[in-house]
Amino acid sequence: ASQTAPVSTTTQAEIYLSQFGYLPASARNPESSGLQDKQTWVSAIEEFQSFAGLNITGELDSETMKLMSLPRCGVRDRVGSADSRSKR
């Protein structure tokens, strides 16, 4: 069986963060060159680091990419998409 590559690039991290609800779904499509403003990117990393119990640096550091490479559940960490009204 093919082995999933560990997360080691910004693009892979962007796809990961979008897949699990930290970035808008648009970021998940590697073809689209969706531009993320810096604050959105930093917030997404902080959010993931906080959720995963890592030091909250806002930087895509090795610790963070190591955790992104762990086997995990495919359900998003943040459910209740930002565009639905019920996200109070």
């Binding site: 906080s50 959720f51 559940c73 495919g74 459910v79 019920s86 109070r88």
Partner: protein, 402 residues
């Protein structure tokens, strides 16, 4: 823990395995899947019955790559499995490219991953407690499995505590199926009595031990859905909580499942809607170090401690400590960056966020940054629109909002 927002209306659930993994014996898979479901029966009245055909609540499949739900699996490692919340059907899919194993440190343990996925099938989202079964990361084979308190609190907030004594460890077969899927969500409506839309300032807001959200105002209370007032509300507080007065100052539900109400110099304790002992008591008696005539109270998601707010100050109360309030309190509310003084209410909501209410507006707090959250539309936001589902009220307070 965090809840997705939907749950099953029934507790007797059925399931079937419509596609088995390549490398394991069917009988072994049946046993492991039954054990994984039984994890959620230990602390609730949920029961799970395996069927071999026909309609069921939860369908289980072992599949590879693209498998028809738009969420393709990715080969060995990475994503191991995913499941759908009750409102989306509750089914669970497992990546059959994984080396699923039973009782071994090799490969990926089927029981642990299945128990996690069935948490989603029942309405649980991921937890940020790394020790919880509902944490998103696979922690490797754990020969001795134990459900974390966080998971127990989560499942009981949806389905209540266990009242029957049937220990459902041996899955039962083919009892008459109730194929009722969760009723579709009725669209939120503006509350029948829409006075709350004209004046959305509240006295207090809290979650019950079952995860229901209630807002108090005067002698009435409103039960809230995920974005509006539930039909048939408001109702009288004296009906919902016999013995409780109107015009409550503050309220919260602690992890012991009890709800505490505060008014003036006194407080009341309830288990569900029943007064839990002889009340009222003096706040000074039960919450030494906490002042009277409070503005707001909540259990903060960041550390599970109880916070009280009054005027420009706040106190932290830890029942497990002596004294429960450190001498360094009170502290200024300005420590909670962006949160105003003289609050009306505070709440840790079922989506895991902390909220503060003042006047007709509310603030969402970013626990990790310890500051009011930044979002669009910005905070503070109008409470009427986002919490009570009021139509023709603005969704933003930003001046010159485009």
């Amino acid at each position: 823990y965090a809840l997705q927002g939907s749950r099953w209306r029934v507790k007797a659930l059925t399931y079937k395995i419509s596609k088995y993994p390549k490398r394991l014996k069917r009988a072994d898979v049946d046993a492991e899947i039954g054990r994984a479901f039984a994890v959620w029966s230990l602390d609730t009245d949920l029961t799970f019955t395996r069927k071999t055909s026909g309609p069921v609540h939860i369908e289980i499949k072992f599949v590879e790559g693209e498998h028809g739900d738009g969420d393709a699996f990715d080969g060995q490692g990475g994503t191991l499995a995913h499941a759908f919340f009750p409102v989306f059907g509750g089914d669970a899919h497992f990546d059959d490219a994984e080396l699923w194993t039973i009782g071994s440190s090799r490969g990926t343990n089927l029981f642990q991953v299945a128990a996690h996925e069935f948490g989603h099938s029942l309405g649980l989202s991921h937890s940020d407690q790394s020790s919880a079964l509902m944490a998103p990361f696979y922690r490797g084979y754990e020969p001795v499995f134990k459900l974390d308190d966080d998971d127990k609190a989560a499942i009981q907030s949806l389905y209540g505590r266990k009242t029957t004594n049937t220990n459902q460890y041996t899955p039962t077969f083919n009892s008459p199926p109730s194929t009722q899927r969760p009723t579709s969500f009725t669209p939120p409506r503006t509350p029948l009595d829409d006075s709350i839309c004209k004046d959305s300032k509240i006295d207090t807001i809290f979650n019950s031990a079952h995860g229901d959200t209630y807002a108090f105002k005067g002698d009435k209370f409103y039960k809230l859905t995920t974005d509006a007032v539930e039909e048939g509300y408001p109702q009288l507080i004296s009906k919902g909580w016999p013995g409780l007065p109107s015009n409550i100052d503050a309220a919260f539900t602690y992890k012991n499942g009890k709800t505490y109400f505060f008014k003036g110099t006194q407080y009341w304790r309830y288990m569900g809607s029943q007064m839990d002992g002889v009340y009222p008591k003096e706040i000074s008696e039960g919450f030494t170090g906490i002042p009277d005539h409070l503005d707001a109270a909540m259990v903060w998601g960041g550390n599970g401690k109880i916070y009280f707010f009054k005027g420009s100050k706040f106190w932290r109360f830890d029942p497990a400590k002596r004294p429960p309030v450190k001498a360094s309190y009170p502290k200024p509310i300005s420590n909670w960056e962006g949160v105003p003084n003289n609050l009306d209410a505070a709440l840790k909501y079922t989506n895991g966020y902390t909220y503060f209410f003042k006047g007709d507006k509310y603030y969402r707090f970013h626990d990790a940054r310890f500051a009011v959250d930044t979002a669009t539309p910005p905070f503070p936001r109008p409470t009427a629109h986002w919490w009570f589902g009021c139509k023709n009220t603005p969704s933003s307070t930003a001046v010159g909002d485009h």
